[in-house]
Amino acid sequence: MNTLSKIVIPIFVVFVVFYGFKKKVSIYDAFLEGAKEGLMISFNIFPSIIAMVFAINIFLDSNFVYEVLSIFRPILEFVNIPLEIMPMALLRPISGTATLAIMNDIFINYGPDSYAGRLASVLQGCTDTTIYVLALYFSSIGIKKTRYSLPVGLFADLVGITVAFLITMLFF
């Protein structure tokens, strides 16, 4: 399993480069062009990262989560879920940057290879920010009545988050 996970990305990269070369794309120029786009994307998300790291850290440093969620501590410990994960699971459908900031915090405090770190990684990757995507896509074409889309989207998130918890326990 370990080697399999280490091989996916190198194989993929070789395949893409090889395919581009075979199709006579000037791969180096294409790479530079894409990298430039990536740089622009990064610059564009930087303000929202500053904003979210700012707010999330005030929130986490206030210990609010620990005090309030400690009521649930016995239940959470029983099912082997670290307390720090809860705000991440709750915020996942709303803001990807907020959960990225929490994940960063978990990595700093527990390390990426801890149970909490792995769980955070799977959580961050497993769903998209439903509410943001719905708002963006529907407003782009002027849809006002979104019908049952939000509950179904949130249900999908719930399934993803639940499976993330289970699968991390099984895998590691």
């Binding site: 399993m1 996970s5 996916v8 990305i9 993929f12 893409v16 480069v17 581009g20 199709k23 791969i27 294409a30 990298a35 786009e37 990536g38 740089l39 990064s42 998300i45 500053i50 700012f54 707010a55 999330i56 850290n57 005030i58 929130f59 440093d61 206030s62 210990n63 609010f64 005090e67 803001s95 907020a98 990225l100 994940m103 960063n104 390390g111 990426p112 990684s121 799977v122 961050q124 990757g125 497993c126 769903t127 998209d128 439903t130 995507v133 963006l136 896509y137 529907f138 074409i141 002027g142 849809i143 889309s149 179904v152 989207g153 249900f155 999908a156 399934v159 993803g160 499976v163 993330a164």
Partner: protein, 193 residues
Amino acid sequence: MVSYIWFFLIVIGVLFSLFTGRLDVINDSILTNGSKALDLMLSILPVIVLWTGIMKIAEESGLLRKFAKLVEPILSRLFPSVPKDNPALGFIASNIAANMMGLGSAATPFGLKAMSELQKINDKKDTASVAMITFLVLNTAGVTIVPTTVLALRIAHGSANPSEIILPGVIATFCSSIGGLLLDYCIRRRKMK
């Protein structure tokens, strides 16, 4: 929506530490947060840039397009209300392909085009059509195979095996999509009756 969350996080955080006497911690936190954000940015930036570079090759060589073609037959089953030759299906396929490769922001333009195509065949312009909802469920469940930022951050924090989370992630994201699509399907069936 995000404004509310932001407001909530800051106000709760500051007020709570005021009442529990942790204001000095918050003071430090506010002043050092900027550099924390910069560290976070610097640790994900190289991987994003590298990955968008690689994926540009996949796009220009037609690999992404080819991959999208592969999923199109499945899509026409998921979207029975969309005619088979409608361009919306192609955009949806490209959107999913880009999402899978961890190109969230590159996927968005395809998604927006797909939505405007779906709007053309929508008879009530202010109401979401069945196909739009199915597409959004598929999109928000976020079928991601290469979670670029997660990998970048794991590398930056010295993980022994950054990519070990790929497989569990794929399983979780897959279940999430299936769950969403099933519920969507059930609701559609009930509405038709």
